[in-house]
């Protein structure tokens, strides 16, 4: 990309501002700490600006999210607590998403609010959560997720299936609490 310094800054700022909510949101869902997320997002923006001259110009959002996830993996992951990557060999790793109840999920979870979705998402082990965030919230393709997380597409597929399954189980907790689903209905 050929830019003057001023043009480069303007071009970067214009694109970065558009994707910044995604950058910060992803950082927040990975770190689960507002303070860490803001630090991570800011560092990602600075790194991206430094490297903007080498950006190939194809998909800015995927490029930014790659920087965020790499930074998170290299700097923040060690400090994080909570569910970590489970084994795909675990029982029910690729279990069906749908519950045993006859009530459709769209009715079960229709009244769930954002914070409940976020709480359920936070219960998903990190690598699965990352795949779900990038696919279902940020709308990245499998290939883009593979590039961002630096894993093969087959692993992306596995992580998505597993992550969604765990997320649904976590959301069932909400459905039970709200009385949409009886305890043990899906067992």
């Amino acid at each position: 990309m050929l830019f003057g310094k001023r043009d480069l800054r303007e071009s970067f700022e214009r694109q970065a501002e558009k994707v910044f909510p995604s950058v910060l949101g992803t950082a927040l869902r990975l770190t689960r700490s507002r303070e860490d997320a803001e630090d991570l997002a800011q560092e990602a923006i600075v790194r991206a600006y430094d490297a903007y001259g080498r950006f190939d110009g194809t998909n800015f959002k995927a490029w930014m999210l790659r920087i965020v996830t790499n930074l998170y993996i290299n700097k923040y992951r060690q400090r994080q607590r909570g569910p970590q990557l489970g084994s795909l060999e675990d029982e029910g790793a690729i279990e069906p998403v749908s519950a045993a109840t006859e009530l459709p999920d769209r009715l079960l979870f229709d009244n769930a609010v954002g914070s409940e979705i976020e709480t359920a998402l936070a219960m998903v082990p990190e690598d699965f959560r990352m795949a779900v965030i990038l696919s279902d919230i940020e709308g990245l393709s499998y290939q883009e997720i593979a590039d961002v997380t630096d894993v093969p597409i087959g692993t992306v597929r596995s992580r998505l299936a597993r992550g969604r399954s765990i997320l649904r189980r976590a959301l069932e907790g909400y459905a039970i609490k709200e009385g949409y689903l009886k305890q043990g209905a899906d067992e």
Binding site: K5, R9, F12, E13, A16, E17, F20, P21, L24, G25, L28, R34, A37, E38, A41, Q42, I45, V46, Y49, D50, I94, E95, P96, V97, S98, A99, P104, D105, R106, F109, A112, V113, G114, S115, I117, E118, L121, V132, S135, D136, I137, G139, S141, Y142, R157, S158, L160, A161, R164, L167, R168, L171
Partner: protein, 245 residues
Amino acid sequence: MIDREKLHAYVDGELSTDEVLAIRAQLKSSPEEAREVEAIQTLKSLLKAKAEVPEFKQPWKDCVKRLDELDKAKRVESVVGRLAPFMCAALFVGIILVGKFGHHGDRGFVSGPDVSRIFGRLSTVHPPQVDGMKRERWLHSRIVDSFSSTPDHLSLRAEKSGVMQGMPITDFSARDEHGDLEIYVIKQAVTLEGTKPMDNYPDLMVGSFNGVNCVVRPQGDSTILIVAARTYVDLAKVAGQVTIR
């Protein structure tokens, strides 16, 4: 039965046209898998619609501020980087000019270390042996030959000579009633580094030479340097009594 991962890929639109057609056909005959597809679609749309968008305006402002600082730092680096060769060149030219024209008027300039180094290399002048002249008489004659006016009580103990930066120089080791003193006569008008004008004696410069007080007195095309462990005023009195012949 359809592979579970394939069902997710189907919902995500990641399958080829042939694979999509095959799965659609299978879903028609499998209500359970059709319900699974619906569940995946529901979860996806739920996340897309209800995932919270964090407050990002202030963090974005912080980022812009950080980028401003980064740009400013880069600009400074760039200016310094661009000017560095010129600054180096200017410094180099300055050094050359000071070296070439850093004289004090028409007078030669001798640095302190040069004085110490060169004065330490002076050779002793020995009395000629041809006429059997005694050393004391010869030394007395040297002082009479060298100075047109000297204090009567000044006696010469030794004489050394040499050349400093092309200037002939003679060192008279003398003694008067107050003790020993060195009188250097340089056959050129020079300014010695580290000397300054003496109060109330406009024609004299004072300083120290190897930690010992000295006065410098220009006289015509020559310079007299008198060094002794005395006050400047005492040295100035001696300087006033010594005139080079």
